[in-house]
Symmetry: C2
Subunit: 367 residues, 2 copies
C-alpha cells in the first residue's frame, strides 16, 4: 500500500499519460474556500463545485479533498455518494496541482507530481504561498498507494497539456515558455521533458492561449482531443470578440498539424460565448496577502472548451449566454455516444477557471 | 468507493469485531505532536512512535495519519515503506479515537465509529477540545471506502474492550460505568450496546483497571485474549507494587470466568515492571489550555500488557526495567508461533499509554 517515488522516467518504464476519453476510475476535485479568490466567502463557488461534482458522479465516482477547517461543511454540503477526504491545499484547481496519472496498459497505475508554483511563482504567479498545493499530488498518490515520478524542479500544470493517448501532446508556447516556470530550459529541453514524462513522441505547439494574465494561456481553454486524430478548438468569426485572434491562430495551427502517427488533424469548431463575460462589480472579495487583487468588471476566461470528458459523460460550462445551447449542441455532435451535460459555472470562472481546471481524472486500469 | 453510514447494527447485519490475532491488512497510527502532552516538543515521543511503526511494519503494513502542520516532518522521519496521510487530530491514540473494524466472514469489512470525548469529556476528560479526534474514525473509514456504524451518543474507546472473535468481550466497570462517558445508561444497557455493535454474546466485567486518573482503567493495560478460551493478565505478588491490588483482583475474576462458548478461561500471568515507573522531573512540557497538567514524578502506567498482536509478530513495550526480558520470555512462551519484539517506549508511556493504545489494526478480509 505504501507508494514509491520512482527515480526513472515513465518512458523508460513503459508508462504513458492516457487520454481523457479513456476509462476513468474516479475524478478528483478540491473544495474551494479562499475568501480572497472567491466572492462572498466562496459560498457561491462551493455551490457550483457541488453541482459539477454531482454531474460528474452520474458517470464516474468523485473524491473531493478539503482543508481540515472546511471538512465538516464540505462533508455536509456534498451527497454521501461523493467521497470527501482531508488534504491541505492553497486553492482549488485539481487539474493543475493534482497528479497527472499514467498507465502502462498491463494494469499498472502511476503518476507524475510536477513542481507547482501557482502559475508563475514570484515572477507572475497568482497566489503565495503555494506550499500545500505543491504537495497535493504527492499526498493524493500516497492516499491511493500509487507510485509516482517527482519533478524536483520542472514546473508544469495539468491544464497546460492535453494528450491523445497515442503519442501526441497539445500545449502552448505562451505558458510553457513563460518566464515564471522553467526560464532556464530551452524549448527543446521542455519538449524532451514532456516526451520523457508523458511518454509522447510529438509536441504540437499552439502559440497563445486566451488568458495571458492568469494561467499564461493554458491549452485547456483553447483546444483538446476528441479522439485520436481529432481535436476541438474554440472558434469565432466575431472580430470584436476578445478571444478572436488567439482562437483563429490556434485553429490555423491545428489545421496545419499532424499527430505522432502522421495523421493530419480533423479540427472541430467550438463556439465562444456570444458576449464576453465580466466579473461582478463590487463583489465581496477579501484582500489577501499573496493573492492577485481582483479588479471590478474584469474580463473572465469563459470558454466552453473547458469541459471534462468522463466515461460516458461530457460536463460542459454554461455561462447564461446566448451560445450556451449551441455549445452543447456542437459537443453532442462531436461526442454522439456520450451524454453532454451543461452545468452553470459562472461563479467558478470568476475565480479564474472552469470545469476542466477543477477536476483531475484517475484512469481505470484492468488488473 | 464512497462509504455509507449504516443505520442498522452490526449484529443485525452479521458483522463482528474480529480478535487481534486474526489476519490484519494494516495497522493505523497517529503522529504525536502536542507540546502540552509530550515533553520536548514531542520529539522523543515521535522517535519512539517511529520505532514502533517500523517494528510493526516488519509484519503488517502501517499507515500513519498526521496533522497538516506536521506532515512534512512526519513524512521525512518515517521510511518510505510506511504510508503517511493527512487526517486532523487532537492527540495520538489511534486505539481510542480510531475506528473499531468489523468483518462478516464473507469478505465484508465495516467499522464502528464511537463517540469519543477524550476519556471523560467535561467530567474528567484529559484534553479539550476533542472535536478532531471525534471525527477521526469517520475520516479513516472514508479514506478507505469502508461503511460504518456511527454512534450518535454512545461513548467508547477501543482501549476499553478486547474480544476473542468468538462472542466474548473483556472490559472494566471502572471505565465503562464512569461518569464521564455514558452516565445515563445502566450497566445492562451498556452491555446490550456492546452486544449489538461488537456482535458478542458475553461481556466479562473486570472491576478495575490500573489508571483511574487517566483512561479510567482501560482493559488494555490489564488483560487481553491470547486465543479463544485463553487470556493474559498482569500479575505480581509484590504487595508494594502500585498495581498489586488491581492485578490480583483482575486475575481472580478471570480465573472464575467462562466465555461465550461456556469455556472456563485459561489465564496466563504476565509480569509487571520490577520497579514502578515515574515521569521525568522538570520535563519540558508546555502549559496548554484544555490538557491535564502533568505533575513532576508522577506514577506512569507502565504495563507490559499494552502490546500489539499483529500477524506473525507481537510488539511489546520495554521500560528499561529489570523485568523487560522476563515479559518478552513470558509472551514468547504464550505465542510460540509468533515473533515477540520489544520496543523501548518510555517516552510514549510518559504521555499516558503505550503500543496498544497508539495502534489500531484493520482486519484483512478475503474477497
Amino acid at each position: 500500500m505504501a507508494r514509491q517515488i520512482r527515480q526513472t522516467t515513465p518512458k523508460e518504464d513503459g508508462y504513458r499519460m492516457p487520454a481523457e476519453y479513456e476509462p476513468q476510475k474516479q475524478v478528483w476535485m478540491i473544495w474551494p474556500q479562499r475568501p480572497d479568490v472567491w466572492r462572498d466567502g466562496a459560498k457561491p463557488a462551493q455551490k457550483q463545485y457541488k453541482n459539477v461534482a454531482i454531474a460528474i458522479s452520474e458517470f464516474t465516482p468523485v473524491t473531493v479533498v478539503v482543508n481540515g477547517d472546511q471538512y465538516i461543511n464540505c462533508r455536509a454540503q456534498l451527497p454521501e455518494s461523493i467521497r470527501v477526504i482531508e488534504v491541505s491545499n492553497n486553492d482549488a484547481w485539481a487539474r493543475d496541482s493534482g497528479p497527472t496519472f499514467l498507465v502502462n496498459d498491463k494494469g499498472g497505475l502511476r503518476a507524475n507530481s510536477w513542481q507547482f508554483n501557482a502559475y508563475g511563482g514570484l515572477v507572475d504567479g497568482l497566489y503565495y504561498p503555494w506550499d500545500k498545493d505543491n504537495l497535493l499530488a504527492d499526498k493524493i498518490c500516497e492516499v491511493e498507494g500509487v507510485d509516482y515520478y517527482k519533478q524536483e524542479s520542472f514546473v508544469l500544470e495539468g491544464g497546460s497539456i492535453h494528450v491523445d493517448g497515442e503519442g501526441t501532446v497539445l500545449t502552448t508556447e505562451m505558458c510553457l515558455l513563460s518566464k515564471g516556470r522553467n526560464p532556464n530550459l530551452s524549448k527543446g529541453q521542455i519538449e524532451q521533458t514532456l516526451k520523457d514524462y508523458l511518454n509522447v513522441e510529438k509536441v504540437i505547439w499552439i502559440k497563445d492561449g486566451i488568458d495571458p494574465e492568469e494561467t499564461n494561456g493554458h491549452v485547456d481553454d483553447v483546444a483538446c482531443f476528441a479522439r485520436p486524430g481529432e481535436v476541438i478548438c474554440i472558434y469565432t468569426e466575431d472580430k470584436n470578440h476578445p478571444f478572436y485572434e488567439a482562437s483563429q491562430a490556434a485553429y490555423k495551427t491545428l489545421c496545419q498539424s499532424t499527430d505522432a502517427k502522421g495523421r493530419p488533424l480533423k479540427v472541430y469548431k467550438l463556439c465562444l460565448t456570444k458576449e464576453p463575460v465580466y466579473s461582478i462589480p463590487n463583489a465581496h472579495i477579501d484582500y489577501g496577502y499573496g493573492s492577485k487583487p481582483r479588479q471590478d468588471k474584469e474580463l473572465v476566461i469563459a470558454s466552453y472548451l473547458n469541459f471534462l470528458i468522463t466515461n460516458q459523460g461530457v460536463i460542459v460550462p454554461q455561462y447564461d449566454d446566448e451560445n450556451d445551447a449551441l455549445a452543447i449542441k456542437q459537443l453532442q455532435s462531436i461526442f454522439p455516444d456520450k451524454e453532454v451535460v451543461g452545468v452553470r459555472t459562472k461563479e467558478i470562472v470568476y475565480g479564474g477557471g472552469n470545469i476542466h481546471c477543477i477536476t483531475q481524472q484517475e484512469p481505470l486500469v484492468k488488473k
